[in-house]
């Protein structure tokens, strides 16, 4: 029994079944990611004054990944054209590039994640000032303003440490090295600071290896690595990018399956083979598009 219009085009719709199915699937995906972006908007609008973190993500790396993904979208489109022209070996080369880009994207993402896991934020019961600890200059424009939380690395904490796990190790104080790279300030405020420091003859402190600030455990209200529970911002970041990464992974598996185990279909039914690349390509462009929304929303705004 053969189902009609699996490969050939139905005249009155001008489409084959798979393509209609994929567009419908993408419509539901739009609703899925649309809901997540809406949730982001609602949570961000509802956030208290000054609570939403800025500058905790690595913008150059994110931009690089955007470029990687766009390149892969381009090679997918080109590989489909190659199949349409009957040039299988060109298709194969282009798809290897696609897969390489996708794997590179996931690798970079994994590296970004692991970078986050050993950064920490400590919320203090008793605030400090940048006057007392010049290392905290990146946390506030005003030297005398109270600083209620510090971002940085904690000695010997590794990844995922919590206040409870540090207490279990018998620590009564933790030493945090404030991180200038992960600013509290907006890009504009950072610029103003640097200018002011230069004008004052000092060099902007950018080193990771700043002198540590000892914090008494009893002075810690809350301590969290940059993991989903850190804040609604990181919760959203990890959920959205994690779900996106799963989609990328799905695309990689589909493309790899079509490229290698299923490639004998090219000789038996070239039209159907080309269609499978077209349909999977549609999915891939959508995944790309999600990232093009996610990158500015999470990294830049």
């Amino acid at each position: 029994m053969k189902i009609p219009y699996t490969t050939e085009i139905r005249e009155d719709t001008g489409l084959y079944n798979g393509k209609v199915g994929m567009w419908l699937f993408l419509a539901s995906e739009v609703m899925l990611f649309g809901a997540l972006f809406s949730a982001y908007v609602l949570l961000r609008i509802g956030a208290r004054e000054g609570e939403w973190p800025h500058g905790l993500l690595n913008i150059p790396i994110g931009a690089f990944n955007t470029l990687v993904l766009i390149t892969s979208s381009m090679t997918v489109a080109m590989s489909w054209t190659a199949l349409k022209m009957g040039n299988f070996s060109l298709y194969r080369k282009l798809q290897v590039v696609t897969l390489a880009c996708a794997v590179l994207f996931l690798g970079v993402k994994a590296w970004e994640y692991s970078e986050k896991f050993h950064h920490y934020e400590i919320w203090l019961n008793e605030p400090l000032t940048a006057q007392e600890y010049p290392q905290l200059a990146g946390h506030s424009t005003d030297l005398n303003a109270p600083i209620t939380s510090i971002i940085g690395h904690i000695d010997d904490a590794g990844s995922f440490a919590t206040l409870a796990s540090l207490q279990e190790q018998g620590k009564s104080t933790v030493e945090i090295h404030p991180d200038e790279f992960h600013y509290r300030l907006s890009a504009r405020e950072q610029g103003q600071r640097r200018k002011a420091e230069r004008a004052a003859g000092g060099a902007a402190a950018t080193s990771h290896a700043q002198a540590g600030i000892p914090i008494d455990v009893s002075n810690i209200a809350r301590l969290s690595a940059f993991v989903p529970k850190h804040s609604t911002f990181f919760a959203m970041y990890f959920t959205l990018t994690g779900l996106h990464a799963l989609h990328v992974l799905g695309g990689v598996l589909a493309f790899a399956y079509i490229l290698w185990p299923a490639s004998k279909m090219w000789r038996q039914d070239p039209e159907r083979y080309t269609n499978s690349i077209e349909v999977t390509g549609l999915f891939w462009h959508f995944v790309d598009l999600v990232w093009i929304f996610a990158f500015p929303v999470l990294y830049l705004l």
């Binding site: 809901a35 949730a39 509802g46 956030a47 919760a235």
Partner: protein
């Protein structure tokens, strides 16, 4: 068509044939419906006799569920679980898979003249995913702490802070069920768009196909936001995030300092009801489709206002996406938003009324055959009518403030779903049974089933409307005893529920038991008729026009043994023209109908 024998497992367990999958859906969802019904019986007993051990099954509950059911008594936590799971099982594992998975799968390809669904393997995956989700949901009863307890709506923060993993199971199971619906929806839409037989134009589609088509779009577009919501709640449960956890949350007297806060409980309600309201139409539209087919066939008349019904069902599909926040009037969203949603909600009642009115007018002047499917279909109209009309006060935000979360709302939506959708389902089961099995169900047992169910359904749900008006709240595990006028603490309290209202709990409990008893003839009839029912004499025992009756009985793999070309609309009944004699041959009586695929008759002279 190449006929090659498949083994039992390939043919019935891992089948890709839409009809087998439809039957799998039917049997599984009826089993879940039964499970949900049993939970309800235990709950109604508890409400009528709070704190007393449940008779007959009390011991069984204790041995299965342990401490929460000690001595066969239902604890408050267990009651909450049963309430949450009754709703979840009935809606997501009972009705939706029944009306969409079973009826949609079996009938849509047949009615559009296709040999199968567009994607048979996805169809199988859809059923498998449904089954896995259902099993996970059932397993959650037996984990420590028991199943989810926060109602079928699972409002956080409550859903997250209840100390049981049941909620996590619920969310994971929901993701499987959503995946299943998604695959099914894509399949139905593509099948209707791409696989319609030649000549079957859009306005020649049976109304049932239209209703499934719109339902599929609702499932496709409304479920994903709730899936997103479920993923976020899963993160809250598993990863300790605060998507729905506000600042300053205090749990059992302890400030939740481990949480970052900053989340919004309202976010969940929006995401949930964005599915939740279209879901209501997912429950009812296929029911309307079934009823339309049965009514057209048994009045022997074309459906009155077919086009109006099609445009109405499309408007319902669109409007159902913009009414969701009428479930949230009491959250304090603000007057402006409430105004918007009460306006859209009032508007959506118009197309619903158009459909019901068309069906009522279709009865006018018909020579009606009152067989069992028709009894269920006809009684659907006033029952759904009550359900719809009792919804109007709830659409208005002012009236809703008083009625919200009372038994009135329980009565309202059960009128829509129980004597509404479930009656439509019964009509459909009796009507298409001969096509699936080649045998008819017993009429007399069917009559007993129908009259008993009609009476008991009303005795169960009508008192609830009264209780709700009297102010009895839903989700109280003691049946409102603490709020009753007779309760010592409530002496002289205005609005405390009177004894009459409390006694209605007994009426409801006994009626529920009687309703269970009246399902026995159906269950017996169903299985008995599969093996020993009266055989049908033709492939078209009801003299119907639509394409599913133009196949062998039961339809083989691949469905049709002839090429299908469609010449006319779906309801060519009440015909009595002389020309039809030539095509039918020498029968004494002229047939009063023409199947959709019967070639146009040339008048013989």
């Amino acid at each position: 068509m190449a006929s090659h024998e498949l083994g039992f497992i390939r043919k019935y367990i891992f089948s890709v044939d839409h009809k087998v999958i439809g039957v799998q859906y039917l049997l599984t969802s009826l089993a879940f419906l039964f499970t949900g019904f049993m939970l309800m019986l235990v709950m109604r007993w508890q409400l009528a006799n709070p704190g007393e051990p449940v008779p007959v099954v009390g011991g069984l509950l204790e041995s299965l569920l342990g401490e929460p059911a000690s001595e066969g008594k239902i604890s408050a936590d267990l009651y909450n679980s049963f309430g949450a799971m009754h709703g979840t099982i009935m809606i997501f594992m009972g009705i939706v898979p029944l009306v969409f998975g079973a009826f949609g799968n079996y009938l849509v390809p047949l009615q559009v003249g296709a040999n199968d669904m567009a994607f048979p393997k996805l169809n199988m995956l859809s059923y498998d995913s449904y089954l896995v989700g259902g099993i996970i949901m059932l397993i959650s009863f037996f984990i420590p702490g028991g199943a989810a307890q926060a109602g079928w709506t699972s409002y956080p923060p409550l859903a997250t802070i209840i100390p049981t993993d049941g909620q996590t199971y619920w969310l994971v199971a929901m993701i499987f069920l959503i995946t299943s619906s998604l695959l099914g929806a894509i399949n139905v839409i593509v099948t209707v768009i791409q696989l319609r037989a030649p000549g079957l134009t859009w306005m020649r589609l049976p109304f049932f196909v239209w209703s499934q088509f719109v339902t599929a779009f609702l499932l496709l577009l409304a479920f994903p936001p709730m899936e997103a919501g479920a993923v976020l709640q899963l993160m809250d449960n598993v990863a300790g995030t605060s998507f729905y956890m506000p600042h300053g949350l205090v749990i059992s007297g302890q400030p939740a300092t481990e949480l970052s806060g900053g989340g919004s409980p309202l976010l969940w309600q929006h995401l949930f009801w964005f599915l939740g309201h279209p879901e209501v139409y997912v429950l009812i539209l296929p029911g309307l489709g079934i009823v339309t087919e049965v009514i057209a066939n048994n009045t022997r008349k074309p459906i009155w206002g077919y086009r109006a019904m099609v445009y109405s069902v499309l408007s319902i599909g669109f409007l159902s996406m913009v009414v969701w926040a009428h479930h949230m009037y009491v959250t304090g969203m603000g007057m402006g938003i409430s105004m918007f949603f009460q306006t859209t909600t009032t508007i959506i009642s118009i197309p619903s009324v158009i459909i019901v009115t068309c069906l009522m007018l279709s009865l006018w002047g018909g020579s009606i055959r009152f067989n069992v499917p028709m009894l269920f279909a006809v009684s659907f109209l006033p029952m759904f009518g009550i359900g719809g009309l009792t919804g109007l006060p709830l659409a208005l935000s002012m009236a809703d403030l008083a009625l919200h979360d009372s038994y009135y709302i329980i009565g309202h939506f059960h009128y829509v779903v129980a004597p509404g959708t479930i009656f439509a389902v019964f009509a459909g089961v009796y009507y298409w049974f001969p096509k699936v099995t080649g045998r008819l169900m017993n009429e007399r047992l069917g009559q007993v089933h129908f009259w008993g169910s009609l009476l008991c359904m009303n005795l169960i749900f009508f008192p609830m409307l009264a209780q709700g008006f009297a102010g009895m709240g839903r989700r109280t595990y003691d049946g409102g005893q603490n709020y009753a006028a007779a309760h010592p603490a409530n002496e002289g309290v205005i609005g405390a529920v009177s004894d009459t209202m409390m006694q209605l709990n007994d009426v409801i409990a006994w009626s529920a038991l009687a309703l269970a008893a009246f399902q026995l003839p159906f269950i017996f009839n169903f299985f008995y008729s599969v093996y020993a029912g009266r055989r049908v004499e033709s492939d078209n025992p009801w003299q119907a026009t639509t394409l599913e009756w133009q196949t062998p009985t039961p339809p083989p793999h691949g469905n049709f043994t002839q090429d299908i070309f469609v010449y006319r609309g779906p309801y060519a009944y009440s015909l009595n023209h002389p020309g039809s004699e030539a095509s039918v041959g020498t029968v004494d009586e002229l047939p009063d109908f023409e199947p959709q695929n019967q070639p146009l008759v040339a008048v013989t002279t």
